[in-house]
Symmetry: C2
DNA sequence: CTCGCTTGCTCAATCGATGAAGCAGCATTG
DNA sequence: CAATGCTGCTTCATCGATTGAGCAAGCGAG
């Protein structure tokens, strides 16, 4: 009963002809509101069976064109190369599907131009709503969306035009720094300022984390060494070269570090292993992010894990409530136990 | 000059009216074949400017509905939680965009039912072509696609109905096993059979890797211990419990292991660190997959990295050539240097 | 002056699904 | 017996972009 693969796809008109009925009856049956349209159960069953036999598949382009809502939700995301964004995307897709929405996700490689292009492409596909994750310029995206009458939500990095859901970066960084400072004091018997490495100094998350870092130092009575705050970008290569030039200009390297993502940690660790510094005593680390293998790297690494499920709950709550005010929802991250 | 965000989106009809011309002229200008349609450069420029001013965005649903080809390419992928699939998706998106195609990717969480559902959804969105990555039942997906007259390609796991691009699992596993066997001999002064853990015994990749594993043992003159071939599934929990029950039933644990993915390695490492076995001497490992932090776990881990760029080159070559024969292209994986 | 050709457009059908409006046919009610 | 209401459909316009067909104006050739 299989169609020849050459022929055009089966449409509701084909089914209507086969069933000896009209396309509109077929449509009503197949999209489930045949009760409302007063189609008899008999005809409904006949059409359903026929559709199945013929392997009928709805043409979403036609359907979306006609309807006012597309039920497509878009997300842009910077990268797929770490657990944080990976789980955001996975969770987003699952939650969208649960709600009968069709998720489309695209990765913009931290490229501002690509972000805009991707946002425009999604609007062309009539997304009902766009989630901008870790966007360089969330307000620009929000503006484009608003011009098209599409709702937008920021995730991970906040903006000022639409609602945002982010981690509580300050509290997370405060707690992480406290722990690393305490570990250093326990290990070395003296208080010592930490290194902060990774992230863009201009982004909100990084500046909040630096603030938490400073506050924890202040609490402990340790002066922050300003030459040790290296917001050099996230990429591993950038973190690596920041470490290299740090080592070139100071006489003693810091004994503890706050690394601002697993991405940056990759570069830091590479430098540590290649440079030959820290061979007698590994630095005590704190990483604002989580990865299972990092957790296995040793008992000298503390980690903060962002609470992706709760963040996405908040995102969907915003979408469903229809809220459009530019409030920022902060979700407390999780302190991962060492070992 | 911004539109009120309440109003409907601008269409070619709106632009036509503003420009005092027809919708068909606008369409021709905006989709670039105005030369062919003999529209004057003057009018073309006027329309282009207007479209820009009004923030016009093409309605893809309408466009795709009318056109023959949608230029949408779909990919389904099992998970986003490891570097291998992450880079596949990232590369796929980049290559699709380079070619003027619109990529849509969805993750099916290794759930066979979800795979089928996702494939159907993509067909509803009129994809021109579907790439089934690591699918449980690639032939089923190929069948659904063929019924809709849509091209399909398998990636990572082969099928028998459409072209497939996979790693050369046998050679990779052979080389990996050789190295771990050699490491064991060097380290312990004697030849010893390895453990194989992770993967589904029924999947092609795993069985090819087991074959490479066996061949390397045979070459070296070591008998494979059949009780040490644990194809327990990929999930960390499965690998972990396989290790646990192995430890419960043997008196001495193997000194070297072949772990069939970073995913499984996560479980194996967790067990190693929690169980308290291997405290005096860490096992020498080989992992069929790559992750930067795994590479930093120590000098006792050999890794095989699948060559994602070459795999995707092959995929797009198939798509572009229009090949439909079920040949399997094997891409040699890369041996990662230790350290 | 007329024929033929080019230029620069417009018209109208079309893609497939949707749903408001309408229309038979039958049953019930006062 | 007319009026009313219900059931079970069908008809048709519509969403926005695309494209084959067609048409008017202009121009050069004969």
């Amino acid at each position: 009963m299989k169609r020849a693969s050459q022929t055009k796809r089966t449409t509701i008109y084909d089914l209507a002809e086969m069933a000896g009925t009209s396309a509109s009856a077929v449509s009503a049956v197949l999209n489930g509101n045949w009760k409302k349209r007063r189609i008899s159960a008999q005809l409904a069953e006949k059409i359903t069976r026929l559709a199945e036999e013929q392997g009928y598949a709805l043409n979403m382009q036609a359907s979306v064109l006609r309807r006012e809502r597309s039920k497509i939700v878009g997300m842009i995301v910077p990268k797929y190369d770490n657990r944080y964004f990976g789980s955001i995307v996975e969770q987003f897709e699952a939650m969208a599907r649960e709600r009968g929405l069709f998720p489309i996700v695209t990765c913009t490689r931290r490229d501002p131009a690509l972000e805009i292009e991707a946002a425009r492409a999604m609007l062309s596909y009539q997304v009902d709503c766009l989630i901008a994750t870790g966007a360089t310029d969330p307000d620009r995206i929000a503006e484009i969306c608003s011009a098209a009458g599409v709702r937008a939500v920021n995730l991970d990095l906040p903006g000022s035009r639409v609602p945002s859901v982010i981690s509580d970066n300050f509290s997370g960084a405060l707690e992480l720094t406290r722990r690393v400072l305490a570990n250093c004091e326990r290990e070395f018997g003296e208080k010592t300022p930490l290194l902060f490495v990774g992230g863009r100094g201009t982004d909100h998350n990084t500046s909040e984390r630096v603030r938490g870092f400073r506050t924890a130092h202040a609490e402990t009575g340790v002066a922050v060494d300003e030459t040790l705050v290296l917001t050099c970008g996230y990429a591993p290569e950038k973190a690596e070269s920041a470490m290299k030039s740090l080592a070139a200009r100071v006489e003693t390297l810091p004994r503890g570090m706050f690394v601002n993502s697993t991405i940056s940690l990759e570069g830091v660790m590479r430098w540590i292993r290649r440079s030959g510094h820290y061979t007698d005593q590994v630095p005590l680390l704190g990483c604002f992010d989580w990865d299972p293998f990092v957790a296995m790297l040793g008992d000298h690494i503390e980690m903060i894990r962002q609470d992706v499920p709760r963040m996405l709950d908040a995102v969907f709550e915003i979408i469903e409530s229809g809220a459009t005010d530019a409030k920022v929802i902060q979700i407390p991250p999780i302190v991962e136990k060492i070992g």
